[in-house]
Symmetry: C2
Subunit: 309 residues, 2 copies
């Protein structure tokens, strides 16, 4: 089943201990769709400027990603510059230029309207909600957000959360959103705002899935599943790892006939697999090269990394 | 097979968001031996003062822990006071009084000399080495250390590492010891100093086991296994969680006929189980109450938390 994703398609200038790249293709929707494309059909909604040309288009085309929802407009594409020199796990933003993204009005192509899965990448919650409302028939909606929206745009974000099945955020964001430092209590707090499942990303330590499951004696019970991250001997560039996790996670779920607990667990592993590959090269370089066979080989490495027998 | 452990038996005054306890029984050797006692026979080497009486003795006796190596001397026992008010994952030390521990000279009872397993808890590496050298026939030696010894007593610590099979430390310590921020590279660096296995503890994110295993094509290969920590809805007191992990881990290993890769993996889970129980009450309260049946039930919770099917 196909996924429609709305989010940023951008250029990133990145510096890490491994080196520097100028204006490489990036953006949450880019990483998400590349990662998800190994599992299912993906359709993108975004806006780009005149600096987005055939070369960038080819990156999506090579993975059969539908780009009819990428609007081309006058001006420059969203641009982000950041570094990970002090701490490979924490980006320091040097500059953010919204450019054409500042007046982004998502337009949904008619050809996207039969998508059964919708992913709302990290953008203004007002836009997330607009897209959500415009696609009332989707079967499963997942989304991401960030500290800026949690802190300064809470009412709009709360409206989005009501319409989400799955929220994917990091530890700090989960604690901030719930106003609770204990992760389990924070998860309950976040899920009370709407999502019936929550994926909390722990960076180099993996991710935890919280979901409620009907229990014999006690009504709904909070269930958890932990997927590790792969200990990598070199993290070249962690940019987009979280979006790639989301793409692997949601892409795998969309490829399954039913969203059983087992499918959710496998989805967590495929999310970790795609996140680990994203870190191995700058930008989207690694995601452009991998094969489904490599993905499944790494899935087995994750199994060995975690399973007793 | 029995384990001899050398380390601190102490009193702790602890403040956490859940409350406060004055002078409860603590110390690395206490937590370690209580946790390990559910799996195998444990013998303790330590020193205590006149404030250590029948009540404290009973805590060990109730778990059949051999305390003939606990020396009673004039003065007061080691005392630590700390709090976790700002961050439940990080102790802030308010005061440390070495007391009788300042002149600790470990004495090994003859009855301990047939122990096949030795655990060197976090104490002065000069003492760790002395005990190690006095027990040349042990089959497997594990140890712990801390930032203070890594930073200011490196030569003595390096001597200890040469005689260790397994080192258990946390992330910061591993990175500091190897002088490398990448965990995999740090693990290789630490293992080049002696230990053939390294357990890096990640607090609320679990722990990673690194061990070398003969590989067909490439000589020795670095293998990894990750055990999660249990997401707890309330961490009452994390004091001793790392020592309890070590006790569960090493106690389980000592209970096995052979140290196979499967045994090591199970040991990581039992370590996590004991660490999770330690956090549920103040001090050693929870470790004094649990049963082996509860331990195995939680082992199964860990399996569900991590296994795909």
């Amino acid at each position: 089943m196909s996924i429609t994703v709305v989010g940023s398609v951008a250029y990133d200038s990145i510096e890490t201990p491994a080196g520097r790249r100028e204006r490489c293709l990036g953006g949450a929707a880019t990483y998400f769709s590349l990662a998800a494309s190994f599992f299912t059909d993906v359709r993108v909604i975004a806006v780009v400027g005149e600096d987005f040309g055939r070369k960038q288009e080819t990156v999506f085309a090579a993975r059969n990603i539908d780009t009819r929802g990428i609007e081309h407009t006058a001006g420059k594409s969203f641009f982000w510059e950041g570094s990970y020199l002090e701490n490979i796990n924490e980006a320091k933003t040097r500059s953010t230029e919204l450019n054409v993204f500042a007046s982004f009005e998502p337009k949904i192509p008619d050809a996207y309207r039969d998508s059964e899965f919708l992913f709302l990448a990290n953008i203004d919650p007002i836009l997330q909600r607009r897209v959500r409302d415009a696609m009332p028939n989707v079967k499963l909606v997942a989304g991401d957000t960030m500290n800026y929206w949690i802190k300064d745009h809470r009412p709009a974000l709360l409206e989005v959360l009501k319409g989400l099945d799955v929220l994917l955020i990091n530890d700090t964001e989960a604690r901030m959103l719930a106003g609770n430092n204990n992760l389990v209590q924070a998860a309950r707090g976040v899920m009370a705002l709407g999502p019936r499942a929550l994926v909390v990303k722990h960076g180099e330590y993996g991710a935890t899935l919280f979901y409620s499951s009907p229990s014999k004696n006690r009504g709904d019970e909070l269930r958890t599943f932990r997927a590790p991250a792969l200990p990598l001997k070199e993290v070249v560039d962690p940019t987009g790892a979280g979006d790639s996790f989301a793409g692997g996670f949601f892409g795998y779920l969309a490829s399954q006939p039913e969203q059983t607990p087992t499918a959710w667990r496998h989805a967590m592993f495929y999310g970790s697999v795609m996140g680990s590959y994203a870190c191995e090269r700058f930008g989207t370089e690694r995601l452009q090269q991998i094969s489904r066979a490599e993905i499944d080989a790494r899935f087995n490495v994750f199994r060995e990394l975690t399973h007793l027998d």
